[in-house]
Symmetry: C2
Subunit: 367 residues, 2 copies
């Protein structure tokens, strides 16, 4: 268990003081910023997330802001999802692809107005791709990273907690929609979204100065709800099939391989840079795809590198995220499997650091 | 002291098995990859680096490869350094700037041939900027991350160690030049370069498969030279004024602010995307600049966020890297200081987590 060396380069967030006071035990680094991974223990954090409500410092979901007359055009150049019907106030999960159709990121696009968008990114410097494209195509658009740091409220008691701070109107926010609220004089977008299947919200905290006041207000309001500091949970997100860019997919993969074909409208997404490259795979389908995979035996260790999947002595895919699920009493995992072996119930073997284990392919995730 | 959570997203390197066997105690994350930061202790590693020879896993210096007829043109678009006289076999330290003149990276460019370059990057996904520019300007060039992982040999006994494995011809490599050598049938570029002031080489290890065989061959050859696993040292690199992108500079800074004006030929670097934005600052100079700053008192803690610098009660700059220097018996640091206070000997105060300390500006670094 190596420690993490502090440096300015691994950026702190507006909520880091709160995270430390809450006793964070482990971090990862995500978009060159600190992301908590453990408070009490991964298992205890998991139980609490499913039963109560947690506040997550997900400032690492940095925003790429597009502003100007070409903002909408640029946004469509980035993704094979058709954005023509998207309205201000909506959030879309959008695969972002390069000219070969390879995934560069899988962010949530937030349409603030016709000429102003945020892209709430996964772990890659998408800002640099977007700036390069805007410059190369000479688009009339400003591309920048604004002072916006998402704070997530996740868990079954999320509505109750948030209503205490922002009023009952938060209960009316529909899934993947956002509305505007005020905190200490600052307008804030609050969306019903988040990187768990337990329900909740993401507050786009504009202006770092209000980070800790908001953090503290939420904890003060939720004492009797058993509110705690939390973080994206390595077990729950696998049970829910929430992919992690860099873990479960890279720029080698098309959206279709990642099971994100339903977010691609390759025929109609005119202007998308990767459209030509994706037309064929959109029609014919991928030759490998992400699957839920259960792994037999005792709890597996953390998956810090791809674990090969075998059948008949040949490699048929790989597992890229894995954890023991207390609720489902099995090891749950996410992997990429060849089409010859991706059907429900297919039996494979997976090479873990602790030896070969039996594995079974599933067509749906656990939650 | 939080631990680092393992995941595939924090990529291992071809040398990670060796690093772990050598007892790595701490990591940072750099280009979404593990970079060791401590073996015995930062101080003991420092002493050993200055007296002996170390092998560093610097695979995190990922390469951006440019290949094709427009490779040279693209390379010049990226930097205000004039590349017209650069020959194959040379390495140039090149500031990379965006259209506003802001630093996107400070890599070493390696010219393999007229139509093939590697950019050996600091900590940002420069690949995405370069791909975006190549796509937007419709250049005839392939841009990719090849399977190349630098391994550095640093310290006063570097020549002796490397000659034992690759022959005495390594002694003839001049500073920031490279030549080709062979290991187990694989051609490898070896440059006289590295992120220390103790002398040494960087081997551009092409083909991950030979990573551990090469690592082991170097250790076997150097037993009586007291060779050890090491890593960029947080004390020595500050003494030597080696800047760290993300710590001592960001995309807010121009090359001139970073003291890199000598690597800019803004008048003649025709085609550089940031040239227009930099012409004025190149002529008039920056209003703040990087400086060596000594800090009085006991050893300071690690600098995990900018420490403000004050004079007369007003903020005049900030410190971004700091460490106690055993050799110079003072705290050494790197900061950015306003021009009104950047002259040699200027006395300032720095706000550290342990309170205000006296600080003195220096025009040259310690080594």
């Amino acid at each position: 268990m190596a420690i993490i060396s502090p440096s300015r380069r691994l950026r702190r967030t507006p909520f880091s003081d709160g995270v430390e006071a809450a006793g964070v035990k482990a971090y990862t680094v995500y978009n060159r910023m600190l992301l908590p991974t453990v408070f009490e223990s991964v298992e205890a954090d998991y139980r609490h997330l499913k039963d109560h409500v947690q506040i997550w410092d997900v400032a690492v979901e940095r925003q790429v802001e597009l502003r100007g007359p070409d903002a909408g055009r640029l946004m469509q150049m980035l993704t094979p999802r058709d954005l023509r019907r998207m309205l201000p106030g909506q959030c879309y999960y959008v695969p972002i692809v390069d000219e070969t159709g390879g995934m560069l990121n899988d962010p949530v696009a937030v349409k603030l107005s016709e000429d102003r968008w945020w892209i709430s990114i996964a772990d890659s410097d998408l800002l640099l791709w977007v700036k390069g494209i805007a410059n190369g195509y000479r688009l009339d658009v400003l591309v920048d990273e604004p002072d916006v740091s998402p704070l997530a409220i996740q868990g079954p008691k999320s509505d109750d907690l948030l209503a205490r701070v922002f009023g009952d109107r938060v209960r009316d926010i529909r899934f993947f929609k956002f509305d505007m609220f005020e905190f200490e004089g600052q307008d804030l977008a609050i969306a019903r979204s988040g990187y768990s299947k337990q329900g909740g919200f993401e507050i786009y905290v504009e202006n770092s100065e209000i980070g800790m006041p908001l953090w503290n207000a939420l904890f003060a309001a939720g004492e009797d709800l058993n509110v705690r500091a939390g973080c994206p949970n390595g077990i729950e997100r696998i049970e829910g099939g929430l992919l992690s860019y860099g873990n479960d997919m890279t720029d080698d993969n098309t959206p279709h391989e990642c099971g994100l074909g339903r977010f691609c409208d390759t025929q109609t997404a005119i202007g998308c840079i990767g459209r030509d490259a994706l037309l064929r795979v959109a029609k014919e389908g991928p030759v490998q795809q992400v699957r839920a995979i259960s792994i037999g035996g005792d709890p597996v260790p953390g998956c810090d590198r791809p674990w090969p999947l075998y059948a008949g002595g040949k490699k048929r895919g790989q597992v890229t995220s894995a954890a023991w699920s207390p609720d489902f009493k099995t090891n749950v995992s996410i992997g990429m499997v060849r089409m010859t072996h991706w059907d429900e119930g297919t039996e494979l073997e997976v090479e873990t650091p602790e030896g070969m284990r039996p594995a079974v392919v599933h067509e749906t995730f656990w939650i």
